[in-house]
């Protein structure tokens, strides 16, 4: 019998992979965006698992909104990456240091 904790553990594992992916792939900003997508996927799974086990469909509405915001984020993020690549010919985040952050 699979219970709520099993789904939450799966979400936690995927989320931590997303965190590790951001650290591993800092040389390629597109891979960082992909790791963020993984983290959002894990969060969405948690929302749906709670929604299913608590019998409250409001959790699925939030997943819907997260999907919308994630799609917008991917579109704008990739547009910025393309723009930066055009002017610098690199997608290494370490080379974009104008702001000295």
């Amino acid at each position: 019998m699979i219970v709520l904790s099993d789904f939450l553990i799966l979400g936690a594992v995927i989320f931590c992979m997303g965190v590790a992916g951001i650290l591993f792939k800092r040389k390629n900003i597109i891979n960082v965006l992909m790791a963020i997508e993984l983290m959002l996927l894990a969060v969405n799974t948690n929302f749906i698992a709670f929604s299913h086990y608590r019998g409250d469909p409001a959790g699925q509405i939030f997943v819907f909104f997260i999907l919308v915001v994630a799609a917008a984020e991917a579109a704008i993020g990739l547009a910025i990456v393309v723009l930066l690549f055009r002017s610098r010919r690199t997608i290494d985040a370490a080379d974009w240091t104008e702001l000295k952050g």
Partner: protein, 209 residues
Amino acid sequence: MNFETIVFYVFAALTVFAALRVITARNPVHAALFLVLAFCSMAGIWMLLEAEFLAISLVLVYVGAVMVLFLFVVMMLEINLAQVREGFWRWLPFGAVLAGLMVFEMVWVLDSSRTSGGPIKHAADYSNTKELGRLIYTDYVYPFEIAAVILLVAMVAAIALTSRRRKDAKSQVIPEQVAVKKADRLRLVKMSSDNHAQQKLDSTAEVAQ
């Protein structure tokens, strides 16, 4: 070990494997394709959680649109693979330890609070899509409209950021055409009156210009 348990473990293993390949794959195109696999197997798990509408929209919207966008960008930019690879081994121990610790903590907490309570059962004619639609258009109608505006803003921003005006492109400028005056186009030439026929010819030529 019933059927649901087998389905859960198969899809969970596929998702974890695909996620692992996303963060370790050498080639960004492979990473994007493994992310597609992760999304598809996660959609299977959402199906198991009776979120049918979201599972389908994950496949259609995410795999069909967002990941294709990722693949477009990955293939469009020429990436120096050797240079991209440089930071991987330097950050591997740190990232692995950090992620391992986080997984350990979360699994510890979640496993200790493991309850045997099953999900809330729905009637046989329960429709997930109908229920979501009812909620979106009643309780969550304002957030829904804000979501629509966010998508519009994202679309406008993406187009405005990436569109380039070409220098050699020919285009019509309506305001300039409307604001044109007679003096801009027509030049009157004063001439002596001895050769009427020649003058008439010249003035018609000027107007034609």
